[in-house]
C-alpha cells in the first residue's frame, strides 16, 4: 500500500482493484483456509512448470523434434524417455517443443480476443443505445455458434499457421470478453462514484479509462484464464482435424491426431504424452481461473 507517489497509470489502479478485493475478502486467510488457496497454488505450479519447459525448450530437449533420431516405434527407454513415433522422432523432444506452440497459440489468441472484446464491450456498455444493441447482436450471433465449428471455419479460411490459428480462436472468444465487460460496464456506470466524477467535470475518456475500466477488469482476469484453457483444447482440436498448425511445427494436438492411428500397434506413448500435456495445462489454467474467480468475485460463488 505504500507505492511511490505520483504514479497515476491505469496499471496502478488495477493494482488498487486487486488490493481492494484482497483486503475486503481477507485474501491471505482464504489462501490458508479455503480450497481455492490450494487450487491456486496447484494451478500456478502446473503453469510455471509448463512455462519453464516452453521457455527452456532448446536446453531441455535432447534431440531436434523434427529429425529422425532413432528407430520408429521405440517404447520409452533410457535413450528416449518417451519413446519415438512412426517417423523415428523423439516424442519427448516433440513434447517439449509442443508446449511452446500450445502456450503461444493460447496466449496469442487470448491477447487478440482481449484487444477486440474489451474496448468494444467498454464502449458498447458505456455509450449504450443503438451502438450497444448492434454490437451486442453481432457478438451474440458469433457466440451462438459452437466454438470449435466456428474456429474450424475461420481457420480453414485463413490457412495454417500459428498466427492464423490464434486469430480463429480469438474470433471464438472475443464475444465472451465483450459480454462480460459490457455487462460489468453497465453496472459500474450507474455507480455513484461515476456520477460524482461527472459532477466534478470529468470527461468521457477519463471516466471510461480511470473509473470504469479498472473496476471491470478483475472479472476479465478470471475469464481469460478460463478461456485460455478452452483455447488450448480448441487449438488441439484444430490441429487434430488438420486445419491448424503445419506439421513441421511440433504441436500436441497434431501429435495426438497423428499418433491415434498407431494405437492399434500398442504404441500408446505417441499420443499419451502430448495428450497429458494438453490435459495438465488445461487443468492448470482452469484451477487458476476458478480460484481467482472464487477470490475476486464473491458474487459469482453461488453459480
Amino acid at each position: 500500500m505504500n507505492a511511490k507517489p505520483d504514479d497515476r497509470k491505469p496499471l496502478n489502479y488495477f493494482k488498487g482493484a486487486i488490493l481492494q478485493s484482497f483486503s475486503k475478502l481477507g485474501f491471505l486467510s482464504s489462501l490458508k483456509g479455503g480450497v481455492e488457496g490450494y487450487m491456486m497454488i496447484t494451478g500456478i505450479s502446473i503453469l510455471i512448470f509448463f512455462l519453464a519447459i516452453a521457455v527452456l525448450a532448446p536446453y531441455i530437449s535432447p534431440y531436434d523434434p523434427n529429425a529422425m533420431v532413432g528407430d520408429p516405434f521405440l517404447p520409452p527407454n533410457p535413450k528416449h524417455i518417451m519413446g519415438t513415433n512412426q517417423l523415428g522422432q523423439d516424442v519427448f523432444s516433440r513434447f517439449v517443443w509442443g508446449s511452446r506452440t500450445s502456450l503461444l497459440v493460447a496466449g496469442l489468441s487470448t491477447v487478440i480476443a482481449f484487444i477486440i472484446g474489451v474496448p468494444l464491450g467498454l464502449i458498447s456498455g458505456f455509450i449504450g443505445g443503438k451502438l450497444d444493441r448492434t454490437l451486442s447482436m453481432i457478438m451474440d450471433a458469433i457466440y451462438a455458434f459452437p466454438g470449435l465449428i466456428l474456429a474450424i471455419a475461420v481457420a480453414t479460411m485463413l490457412g495454417p499457421g500459428v498466427l492464423n490459428v490464434a486469430i480463429s480462436l480469438a474470433v471464438v472468444y472475443a464475444p465472451t470478453y465483450f459480454r462480460v465487460i459490457r455487462n460489468q460496464t453497465l453496472s459500474v456506470r450507474e455507480q455513484l462514484y461515476v456520477e460524482a466524477a461527472k459532477a466534478l467535470g470529468a470527461g468521457r475518456m477519463t471516466i471510461m479509462g480511470y473509473y470504469i475500466f479498472p473496476n471491470v477488469i478483475p472479472s476479465v482476469v478470471v475469464i481469460s484464464s478460463l478461456c485460455i484453457a478452452d483455447a488450448i483444447l480448441t487449438a488441439a482440436g484444430l490441429s487434430f482435424i488438420g486445419v491448424g498448425i503445419s506439421p513441421e511445427i511440433p504441436d500436441w494436438g497434431y501429435d495426438v491426431s497423428n499418433g491415434q492411428r498407431f494405437l492399434t500397434y500398442r504404441a500408446w506413448w505417441i499420443i499419451t504424452f502430448p495428450g497429458l500435456g494438453i490435459l495438465l495445462t488445461v487443468i492448470g489454467f482452469s484451477l487458476l481461473g476458478e480460484s481467482l474467480d472464487e477470490i475476486l468475485n464473491p458474487k459469482l460463488r453461488e453459480r
Binding site: R8, Y13, L192, E195, A196, A199, L200, P214
Partner: protein, 318 residues
C-alpha cells in the same frame, strides 16, 4: 445580481408509466455567499433540482423548460463541453453516500490530483499534492492518508474527502445533496460543523438539500420548502422557524421530535406524498391540508409575498 437565478425550471422524467414531474415550475434565487436549505420529503424532487443545476439529470429525465442563470449566463444554453468546465470548478456537488461516491481503485490523492488536473492542466503534480494536503489537513484528515484507498477510510473521512473534492477548486456554488444522511449522529455533527466553518472561510454559496430540518437551522440563511415538485415556501431561516406560513411547513416543523415535548406524541402529517405522475389538481398539498378550502382543489395557489424575503404559495395568505 444574484449568483444563481432559477426561473420556472421544469425537469420531467419520461417513464413508461407516464411523465413524472419531478421539478415543476420551480423558481429560486441565491445570492453570493448565501446558504439555502432545500427541504422536502423523499421523492419531492429536491435531488433532481440539484442535478438539474449541473445538467446531470439521468435519462429518462429531461430539463424541458425554464432558465438557470448562473453568474449572468444561462446554463441551459451551454454546450456539454462548457458545462464540464463549470462542473467541479465553479459549481460542485457533495453526494449523499460517501461509501460509494469515491472510485474504489483510486487513491485519495489521485482523486484530488485528477480533479485539479482536469480543470487546471498547467498545475504540476507536486503543486496539486501540496494544495490537496493543505486542504485535507484543514478538514481534519492527516495528509499521509492521501495514499490510502477509499475502502481504508471510515464513512466520515470519506465524506470529508468528498468535501475536499468539492472545495479544492474554490467553487462559487456547492450543492450538498444530503451530505450527512449516511453518517451516524456524531460524525454528522462534525461534518455540519465543518461545513459551517468552511462556508464562513471560503465565502461560497451553498445549497443544502436535505429532509432534515434540524440540519438546516444550523447552516443556512434561507429555507425553501419543496413539496411534490413545487416550491411551497421560501423564507429566511429565523422567521421560518418562528412562524412557518405554509400548512406543509407547519406540519413539517411540528413533526420534529423535541426534548421539551417528550411526553407528547409526535404529530405527523396525515396522508401520503402524492404520485408525481398524477399529482392532485390545484394546490398539490390540499388533500393533506388541514386548512383546505374548495378553491384549493381547483386552482394553482398564488404566489404571496410576505414581507421582503418571504414567499409562500397558498390561498390562505393570498
Amino acid at each position: 445580481m444574484s449568483l444563481l437565478e432559477v426561473s420556472r425550471l421544469k425537469t420531467y422524467f419520461y417513464t413508461r408509466r407516464g411523465i413524472v414531474r419531478a421539478v415543476d415550475d420551480v423558481s429560486l434565487n441565491l445570492e453570493r455567499g448565501e446558504a439555502l436549505g432545500l427541504v422536502g420529503e423523499s421523492g419531492c424532487g429536491k435531488s433532481t433540482f440539484g442535478l438539474s443545476i449541473l445538467r446531470l439529470v439521468p435519462p429518462p429525465g429531461r430539463i424541458i423548460g425554464g432558465k438557470i442563470i448562473f453568474d449572468g449566463e444561462n446554463l441551459l444554453d451551454k454546450s456539454e463541453k462548457e458545462m464540464r468546465k463549470i462542473r467541479g470548478k465553479r459549481i460542485s456537488m457533495i453526494f449523499q453516500d460517501p461509501m460509494t461516491s469515491l472510485n474504489p481503485v483510486m487513491k485519495i490523492k489521485d482523486h484530488l490530483i485528477e480533479l485539479i488536473k482536469t480543470h487546471e492542466p498547467d498545475t504540476s503534480v507536486n503543486e496539486a499534492l501540496e494544495r490537496a494536503s493543505k486542504l485535507l489537513r484543514e478538514l481534519g484528515i492527516p495528509p499521509e492518508r492521501m495514499n490510502d484507498y477509499p475502502h481504508q477510510l471510515s464513512g466520515g473521512m470519506r465524506q470529508r474527502v468528498m468535501i475536499a473534492l468539492a472545495l479544492i477548486l474554490n467553487p462559487d456554488l456547492v450543492i450538498a445533496d444530503e451530505p450527512t444522511t449516511a453518517l451516524d449522529t456524531i460524525v454528522q455533527a462534525q461534518i455540519l460543523e465543518l461545513l459551517k466553518s468552511l462556508r464562513d472561510e471560503y465565502k461560497m454559496s451553498l445549497i443544502l438539500i436535505t429532509h432534515d430540518l434540524s440540519i438546516v437551522a444550523e447552516l443556512t440563511d434561507k429555507i425553501a420548502i419543496m413539496y411534490a415538485g413545487k416550491i411551497v415556501e421560501i423564507a429566511d431561516t429565523l422567521s421560518f422557524y418562528e412562524e412557518p406560513l405554509h400548512p406543509y411547513s407547519e406540519g413539517l416543523l411540528r413533526s420534529i421530535p423535541s426534548i421539551e415535548l417528550s411526553h407528547q406524541q409526535l404529530k405527523s402529517i396525515p396522508g401520503w406524498p402524492p404520485d408525481l405522475i398524477n399529482p392532485p389538481s390545484g394546490c398539490r398539498f390540499h388533500p393533506r391540508c388541514p386548512y383546505a378550502k374548495p378553491i384549493c382543489a381547483k386552482e394553482e395557489p398564488p404566489l404571496v409575498k410576505m414581507g421582503e424575503k418571504r414567499i409562500v404559495y397558498c390561498f390562505r395568505w393570498g
